[in-house]
Amino acid sequence: MKSMYLRINPFLTASLILLAGCDDHKLKQPREDVAKTSSEESSRDGREIDREFARTLAREFGREFAREFARQLAEGNQSIAVPTIASAGTVDETLEKGEFVNANGRAHPLIAHCSEDVLEFYSKHPDAFSIENTSAIPADLEWEDGSDESEFASPKAKKGGTWNVFMSDFPRTLRTIGPDANGAFRSYLLDYNALSLVMPHPNSDGYYPGLAKSWAVGKDGKTVFFQLDPDARYSDGNPVRASDFLFTFYFMRSKHVQAPWYNDFYGKDKFLKVTLYDEKTLSIKFYKAKPDVVERVSLRPIPEHFYIELDGEFLKKYQWKPEPTTGPYVALPENIDKGKSVTLVRQKDWWANQKKFHRYRFNPDRIHVTVIRDYNKAFEIFLKGGIDMFGLAKTEFWYEKIPDEHPLVVNGYLTKLTFFNQIPPPSYAMRINSQKPPLDNKDARIGLHHAMNFDLILKKIFRGDYVRMNTMADGYGARSHPTLRAREFSVEKATEYFAKAGYSKRGPDGILVNKKGERLSVEVMTGYKHYEDVLVVLKEEAKKAGLELKLKILERTAAWKTAGEKNHQVVFSAFNSFVELFPRFWEPYHSDNAYEETGDSKFEADGSLKPNLTTKPSTNNFTQTAVREIDHLIDLYRPEEDLGKITEMAHQLSTMIHDHGVYVPAWKKPWLRVGHWNWVKFPEDWGPKETRDYEEFQVFWIEESAKDKILKAQKEGKPVAEKPTVRVYEKYKNN
């Protein structure tokens, strides 16, 4: 269980995503006031001032300053901290280790191609970036290269053909970062395409090589050494250099890219140090010796030669200029039909064409992504053969719109398949805001748990295909609590708990009232219009327990805004949990994410909350959980490095959160359901076990001859298979 998404699509990982046909969600990004950032300011002014001149001036000044500094130092003024640039002031011409620029302003050969701004950035952060001699690499490292892992693609795969898919909206940019870049199309540029240093193996707990041909974890458990594949190059022919990984930090932390999330993600607090040893060797030091440190630091390089001028014009300049990629598919400007489609073309001479783990993947010659705005229309086009594959997770699609008896399936033109996968499910749940009455009372919350008839939903709306989620951390292997179960629907138990909370009498409409005459009425808010029917059923069933649910179904952005401001009573939502070794508790359950007051200062001596605390908006603690014991355990859990202890604490936390009663787990689906035309072929097992999405690992291939055959047979009305092509792949089914 690892997090490939963490690096190649980090934004998604933190955001609440849209599921089931709504993949274009954007989390509200905390926008920084652009005007405030000085670099932005200077770049604007830069248009009027000669920038070259300004740089020379700055360098001269810096040198002057450094000389003066060194002089003072020599005079014994030891109290002054030594800035790195001081080394530039020494007369020594040779490059010492750890030095970026020597006295003459000449850069180290490994970064000689870098622009002044970039060099300056490195020099300013000598503790975070360094250059060492190869002799500094520890000799006793255990290098791995993934050779003991097995390939997950099929040697039968054939190259060629066009893969037709659809997107619901035309991408607003071809940038992969910055405003509007987080659209669904980005997956075709990054997730399904670009390689990072090392990739987590989707069938095992190991890794397989990406851009790095071998890697090793240092003795401290925090530093990972990588040796780049000598063949690795970008689609424009330039080789991947170790210094590109240094540049990644310059790029990601730049204000010009206007991506605060990335600015923060690539921050100094997580990536302690990046060291270059030669053109192809580097090491990255993570802030903690986590068991999965390799994937945490497995970055994607940013091609420095492409972004040679990174300035305030970034957004405009790169809006429709796709970045050279290390992956097989390129989006060339001439293949973009604005507003209609984007065609990605496979590079014939892709550098990893013959590499193990990559050679049988990425098979189609072209990926043709068409804009079809309406989901139902896309489905009709799929039935006509205009799209090769379609997700059939929705019940009505699977059972009604394309039943097993559908002529296309019976005649063997089209396959319906169920593939059982093993990934942490998106956390569909009702999150109760424990701050708002009447749900600030624990008994009322637990009563609400028992009043939610999810069993009926699973049975009737999802026809028994989905299963109930049990904890807030399902799908993390041993880290998930083995025995904890979601509270069942029970009118008796619900009314019993509601009575404890003071709601014991039924009003004229059957809704419970308390002594003050207040009705037990709760507002449930959601941004998922397509789950309206689920909520409507829950509402009707909750009436039996004397609870009124008022439904508020909002636009997605409006819903997140309301929830972010913590103005909801109950929010029905889902987080996309990405493949990771252990669950996260701090973001959704630590009191520091509920109130502005930090640490234990918000609790009275007996552990209860102090009055008049300030609610903290825009965090993922949608339940406003603030329990001192949970806080303390999370504080221990986060820095823990031993997997056994992590497991134990994760179980404890799951139980505590269950007892606190703020999270009503809804459902999960342990499979992928897909329909595809039979000219699309798959490996024997269909896909690796951690497949989240049918396009993710690109193991399929297109058989052009089969396509002609099927289309011809369809025209003549003849079947191409003896029985209906309905398949189930149960190899990875969990019981």
């Binding site: 009737k460 029917d533 059923v537 327990a545 004397g546």
Partner: protein, 359 residues
């Protein structure tokens, strides 16, 4: 002195003429009947029983508070499921009985009684689902009927509010003329250019959630009125302009009548006949806009029964549940046709060419 309300002879003549236009008149009666029927909908389409005879006592559950299952010897405290109660009484062969309405379902309740029911049951006489069920096994007929009631009440409210605003604004501009007119008309023009649909979408999404459904519906009505009253003002203004030049207005003014009195006592009755002809079309417009808004998902809050919501379900499941679209579209076409027929008849009956006398 109280005057006996009597219609003025011209109006009486107009009404007579309306009655003589058979198509419009019968449409009016049918529409009136349908609306009346929908107001009494609880007696015909309801999950609550009309009558229950239990242990020597007669219950009328239709209106009033809900009756807990325990009252009838069932083992639960929530509202009695009368269909089950009926079955139970029949099975027990007891002297107790239940009289259910012809369609024993309400628009909110999911009929998951059958093991294999998973939504979209086709129309069935035996189950009492005459128009089938929707995705969550709610009765389509029940939703149609209650949706009709809400749409009609909504559109009458819309009509009344629009007329009040338009008459006030139009009369003010028309009667005072001059700067009032120029300024007022400019304001109306500006206001009319605010895109209606966007405003509704924006305002609906910021409505506070703690409002009850009644408030939400009312506020939707206000929002719609707020952005669509302008069209009618032009007609009122023009009509008032025309009328105020007449001698009777001058006479009233000479007698010292205040502008308020002149407008509402003298001008309005003469202007109103122009406006009446627009009324049925305004109703039709209101029904279509509320349906359209619901279809887009910006209308009445779920799970309020509404035609737009039914249409949306029907369109996205056209192949598997054609009965939803068929019944909803038929109902919509029928209603709008009736309203249009009424409108045409009213227009013809109130045609000024037939009755106006110019001095």
């Amino acid at each position: 002195m109280i005057r006996k309300p009597s219609l003025n002879p011209i109006t009486r003549k107009k009404l007579q003429r309306f009655r003589s236009i058979k198509r419009g008149y019968w449409s009016f009666l049918l529409l009136f009947f349908l609306f009346g029927f929908s107001l009494l909908g609880e007696l015909f389409v309801n999950k609550r029983a009309l009558l229950v005879w239990h242990e020597g006592e007669l219950f009328f559950p239709t209106y009033g508070s809900q009756i807990a299952g325990k009252t009838f010897g069932l083992d639960y405290e929530y509202e009695t499921n009368y269909r089950e109660l009926k079955r139970k009484f029949q099975e027990d062969d007891s002297s107790h009985w239940v009289l259910m309405p012809p369609v024993p379902y309400d628009p909110f309740e999911m009929d998951y009684a059958k093991e294999d029911s998973t939504g979209f049951s086709p129309p069935s006489l035996a189950d009492g689902h005459f128009c089938g069920t929707d995705k969550t096994e709610r009765d389509v007929l029940a939703r149609l009927l209650y949706g009709f009631r809400i749409a009609m009440i909504f559109s009458f409210g819309y009509l009344i509010l629009i007329y009040i605003i338009a008459i006030c604004a139009g009369c003010l501009m028309g009667y005072f003329g001059g700067k009032t007119d120029i300024l007022g008309l400019r304001l109306v023009e500006i206001w009319a250019n605010v895109p209606f649909l966007y405003m509704v979408i924006i305002l609906v999404s910021v409505m506070p959630g703690w409002w009850g459904i009644g408030w939400q519906v009312a506020s939707l009505l206000f929002i719609m009125v707020l952005f669509s009253w302008t069209g009618m003002t032009y007609y009122v203004r023009a009509a008032v302009y025309k009328e105020k030049a007449r001698d009777y207005v001058a006479a009233a003014r000479v007698l010292g009548a205040s502008p308020f009195r002149v407008i509402f006592r003298h001008l309005l009755p003469n202007v109103i006949s122009t406006l009446v002809t627009f009324a049925p079309f305004t109703v039709a417009a209101a029904i279509s806009s509320i349906t359209a808004l619901d279809f887009l998902g910006y209308g009445l809050p779920a799970p309020t029964p509404s035609w737009g919501e039914l249409l949306k379900q029907g369109v996205s499941n056209l192949r598997i549940a054609p009965w939803i679209v068929i019944s909803t579209v038929s109902a919509l076409v029928l209603t709008l046709t009736l309203v249009t027929f009424v409108g045409e008849a009213v227009r013809e009956a109130f045609d000024p060419k037939k009755f106006s006398t110019y001095e």
